[in-house]
């Protein structure tokens, strides 16, 4: 009786793996636990031991292919055992632990096959059923994918599969959901902001064939939506920009003093929560920054929901820290870390990106001194944080070296004047520069 070899799950967040190498060829003997194939995910290669002893009967997934976990990648049985003689369902993943799980015995298929005890090779057998080489149509996606689809109300059949046999992989569905969610913006329309926090991956250079002068590539859905929102925002709001220089010396001290305490809570304290806290103070004093325009009416929002722009591989997303004005530094740090992590691992819920009233974008992450972001409609202002850099500054007529950051505010001049913006940034600066003891 043949045993299925399946793609094991090599970690909680891992949904698929690439076979980089089969260490045994078809027809070769393999011992139980002996390395059978190698897989690769990200930066890690891993060796997968054989779930059983016998002969490698067939390889169903060739080297270089990426398949989802629990996909049958090969089959092990007795020499001469008929191909395709296996149970209809793959068994539980044999985790490549020291004690691999032996696949559970399964019912013998109704179709006649060589008895497992038969030591002699069976003569060529007429196979009554079609060879199960390609996955049947109904398994075009895994339970993981189906669950994600159900959660997001997506019809899997609409998603183009790039996996083995056209299967819809987790990546496919996430890409689909991402592009779909940006194509049907929620009511609050959290338009992607800022051109400044560019995608982290260097843009793929176009490949020119010899003699070719240009290459035309259709925009992805996400790219089209970003483009649309950017134009809409610029068209809607006359943007004005004000930039302030802030000395981060005191924040650095405060952060150093609190770092351990935060670590004890399992939170890495970055500079971001300090910026958010300072902005909230500024908004409390100048609520116009936290407003929106509705026709000829100005809507002032009491609650401050701060959107944080996060760069993704093919664009960006702005998860929102809800009720940021009611959080202390620890709460802000925890929430920001959680949202950032979930944005990058594509586990944001639709609600996470809605309801923002003000946005912060870190243009310094990728080295920018400062940036002039585009307002995230229908909000009224967005603040860009540049790189914190040590610079010589004059303090009391002496030159000192201080960590300096440039904060830029892009705001809607229909409702916010330069004076308001400067007053707001003055509060932000005052909050950030206040002595660490205070």
């Amino acid at each position: 009786m043949a045993v299925d070899v399946i793609m094991p799950q090599m970690g909680e967040s891992i949904a698929e793996g690439t076979i980089v190498k089969w260490l045994k060829g078809v027809g070769e003997n393999v011992d139980r636990d002996e390395p059978l194939f190698e897989i690769s995910t990200d930066k890690v290669d891993a060796e997968i031991p054989s779930p059983s002893a016998g002969v490698l009967l067939e390889i169903l997934v060739p080297e270089g292919k990426t398949v989802e976990i629990n996909t049958v990648v090969g089959r092990i049985g007795q020499a001469g055992e008929a191909r395709g003689a296996t149970a209809p369902k793959p068994s539980a993943a044999p985790a490549p632990s020291a004690a691999p799980v032996t696949p559970a015995p399964r019912p013998v298929p109704a179709t006649p096959v060589a008895a497992p005890a038969t030591p002699t090779p069976a003569p060529t057998q007429p196979a009554p059923q079609p060879a199960p080489q390609s996955a049947p149509a109904y398994v075009r996606s895994s339970p993981v994918v189906q669950k994600i689809a159900a959660e997001h109300g997506v019809d899997v059949s609409l998603v183009e599969g790039t996996g083995e046999g056209g299967r819809v992989t987790k990546k496919d569905i996430m890409t689909y959901i991402e592009s779909a969610s940006s194509s049907t913006p929620p009511v609050t329309q959290p338009a992607a902001p800022a051109p400044a926090p560019k995608a982290p991956a260097p843009a793929k250079p176009a490949v020119f064939a010899s003699g070719q002068e240009e290459v035309r590539e259709p925009m992805s859905i996400m790219r089209k939506k970003i483009a649309e929102h950017m134009v809409m925002s610029k068209h809607t709001s006359p943007h004005v920009y004000t930039i302030f220089e802030v000395d981060m010396n005191e924040v650095v001290k405060r952060r150093d003093a609190m770092k351990r305490e935060f670590e004890a809570e399992g939170v890495k304290l970055t500079f971001l929560p300090f910026f958010i806290e300072a902005c909230i103070r500024g908004i409390k004093e100048f609520p116009i920054i936290n407003s929106a325009v509705d026709g000829e009416t100005i809507i002032y929002k009491k609650t401050v929901n701060v959107g944080i722009a996060v760069a993704l591989e093919n664009g960006l997303i702005v998860p929102v820290i809800k009720h940021a004005d009611q959080m202390n530094l620890l709460g802000l740090a925890k929430t920001a870390a959680d949202l950032g992590e979930r944005a990058r691992s594509k586990r944001l819920m639709p609600d996470d990106v809605q309801g923002g009233t003000f946005t912060i974008t870190n243009v310094g992450v990728f080295g920018g001194t400062f940036g002039l972001p585009i307002i995230n409609q229908p909000q009224a202002a967005i603040m860009g944080i540049g790189t914190i850099t040590k610079r010589p500054v004059v303090i009391d007529d002496a030159i000192a070296i201080r960590p300096i950051v440039y904060l830029s505010l892009s705001y809607d001049h229909r409702i916010i004047d330069g004076a308001d913006a400067a007053r707001f940034l003055t509060v932000v600066k005052r909050e950030l520069e206040k002595p660490a003891g205070a």
Binding site: G11, I14, S40, T41, D42, V44, A46, A201
Partner: protein
């Protein structure tokens, strides 16, 4: 099983300057020992003479220099069995090869990568360098520059290969390639970020402490002389 306070012990061994092949053989031997459940977990530190190593995921386009110009710089190219694309190792770079048994709760490839990144982020923080994870690429970054690379192999939950942290590396060697297959990837070093010279031993010492914390291992330092 056992008390929660119990922690596995791990030897941190500094081998100094060792060529890539020797270190590779040593790693392999220790992996096999651990697979037989013999011996302790180890964290091997080395510095390599100039070498370009090509991982299993290499696209083949990552090395941009021709063989002659690589050799002219005293480097050679070696194929290896870790994950990841191409990278450079050389003097002034702290290379760490943790050969450890991942216990039940840690048997997650991504978690292992994240944990190693954390060791390096914490180590760099001790030198006041704020390092982060990149939203897309693995490794450890300071702003838009890469300071440490990872390449890992796991066989039957025993780890090998590991990390390479630029302490005072001659970064011009990275110009021979697109590090880790990332085009336009710029590198940095601890020395550059601190604008001060940092002794290798100090970095090693901090890395050992953080490795012990992140992986819940009781670290024992050995200066040299295994095998």
């Amino acid at each position: 099983m056992g008390s929660a306070a119990h922690s596995t012990s791990c030897r941190a061994i500094d081998l100094g300057l060792v060529d890539y092949d020797t270190a590779f053989a040593l790693q392999k031997a220790h992996v096999e020992r651990l697979q037989r459940d013999e011996g302790d977990d180890v964290l091997i530190y080395v510095e390599h003479p100039h070498v370009l190593t090509v991982g299993r995921n290499a696209t083949g386009r990552a090395i941009v220099a021709d063989r002659a110009s690589i050799e002219a710089r005293g480097a050679r190219v070696v194929a290896t069995d870790r994950g990841g694309d191409v990278t450079y190792h050389g003097p002034g770079q702290l290379v760490g090869y943790p050969i450890i048994r991942l216990e039940a709760g840690r048997r997650d490839l991504r978690r292992y990568v994240r944990d190693l990144e954390q060791v390096l982020i914490d180590t760099l923080a001790d030198f006041d360098v704020e390092a982060v994870r990149h939203p897309v690429h693995r490794g450890v970054w300071v702003r838009d520059k890469k300071i440490a690379s990872l390449g890992i192999r796991i066989s039957r939950w025993v780890t090998s290969h590991g990390f390479a942290l630029n302490v005072f590396t001659d970064l011009s060697y990275f110009n021979l390639m697109n590090p880790c297959g990332i085009e336009g990837c710029r590198m940095t070093s601890l020395e550059l970020e601190c604008a001060a010279s940092i002794p290798m031993a100090a970095v090693r010492e901090r890395a050992t402490v953080h490795f012990g914390q992140v992986f819940a291992r009781e670290m024992h330092e050995e200066t040299a002389g295994v095998h």
